[in-house]
Symmetry: C2
Amino acid sequence: MMGAMALIECVPNISEGRRTEVVEACAEAIRRTSGVKLLDYSSDASHNRSVLTMAGDGPALEQAVLALYDAAIPQIDLRAHTGEHPRLGAVDVVPFVPIEGVTMEACVALARRVAEAVAARFQVPIFLYEEAASTPARRNLEDIRRGEFEGLAAKMARDEWRPDFGPAQPHPSAGASVMGARVPLIAYNINLATDRLDVAKKIAAAIRLSSGGFRFVKAMGVRVEDRNLVQVSMNLTNYPKTPIFRVFEVVRREAARYGVAVLESEIVGLVPSAALIDAAQYYLQLERFGEDQLLENKLRKAME
Amino acid sequence: MMGAMALIECVPNISEGRRTEVVEACAEAIRRTSGVKLLDYSSDASHNRSVLTMAGDGPALEQAVLALYDAAIPQIDLRAHTGEHPRLGAVDVVPFVPIEGVTMEACVALARRVAEAVAARFQVPIFLYEEAASTPARRNLEDIRRGEFEGLAAKMARDEWRPDFGPAQPHPSAGASVMGARVPLIAYNINLATDRLDVAKKIAAAIRLSSGGFRFVKAMGVRVEDRNLVQVSMNLTNYPKTPIFRVFEVVRREAARYGVAVLESEIVGLVPSAALIDAAQYYLQLERFGEDQLLENKLRKAME
């Protein structure tokens, strides 16, 4: 039953955002894989990079990722690649995200399995990251990618940067890939009832990891020009560990310090239901609550 | 697509809670109906009443309800029925509850369709209630059921109590049925950090409809003996109109009036996800949020 329901999201980033026909061929490779749905894909020309979003169960996603490498490797040569976004490889990053009926552990195992298969078939070295990381030093994508493709051969010559799978040197044209498992990201903004940009910037600094704030918050203060107000714009990278409600309450408290109120907040794009249900539990002081008390879940399971 | 996904809950109450073999035959009639799942059933001997919970799509539930009447009508004779719980008929109440992929309007239409079919086949008069009610006087179950089976013939002799479907007199043994559509009920308790029962009782009186409170709240103050504290015990009968978070905030405010804090709250049984997501939206001051932003919903739909 669990296997039949397993729903995993996979969001490969490829180092091609200009040649439409190459991106299209990669998208088509995913579309042709049965059991996988290509949900979205978009390219950024200045980054020279595309993000493809697909979903399916483990075995189907494994086939789709292999098909994606098959389409990308002959077409994308990092030696001739330019673009603003940092990158290590032709297929640069491949995260697996558990959505429903599947654990993080199962997605870590899937990432390892796919990494092994890709390394064996394409001779591309793979670094495991985030929840799949083999050491804490490899948890963060930024740390693995530092030095980029151009510095990769020198980096990999050092013992601590031997890949988790595949050859000890970069693939000549395709570099290396970063593969792993992570929770869904949440893009979350809090709009303040003020036009004082310094307030938004100070609050952003207070809550983000890089300046002493929460472990899983990236934040900046920005102006929302058309509305004459400022915004704390955030990425919450691990909502079970740094939950929305805690960030919201600290932002509200920090804003009050400057005599400023929270006007509203907004989720950009998608959010896991659990992140909002966690917030309801917090504010309503709900105790002894379990996911099996959610009516739709219960009935959906019963009907299967 | 919508039709394939429609998930409706139906919770018939029958006037038999003592003769196991009769209840079992009714349960079996539902189990035998294809496309319907019997989720739960339980009997109360002192009430002499059983509650059966099933789910399915509209057409399947219609067949299951007809099968239930088929099993119940020959076996349950209201002329010989005793029990503490008020009742009008052998199959006493049949609510349809929209769960997922279906509107309240569709459930109202379903209730009317089933009512018509039952009335035609079994010559049982049917009163429509709640969202399906034909007049405001018939919205509340208690108003329709007042006078019970014993007073039904006299009540129906009055013009304003002509049934919505079926004969103008009660069925000799099966009385009448109340059928309709409603939102899911939420059983919700708030525990107070005190053992003062008078505080719980005063708060319950402040928030319930019957003494001037919220339209869709039933509440009482009770003692939780084994924990040395008191509780405001509630039924929220229409969470979109009287939402959990508003009730919670008023209870918290009223408790503070007596120097008492809210210790915790709890959901008893099942709760629609939407009721908790509404609470998150309220507390996080979320604007421009739509159900299509829930990750699992979006992916589940895409995979279908």
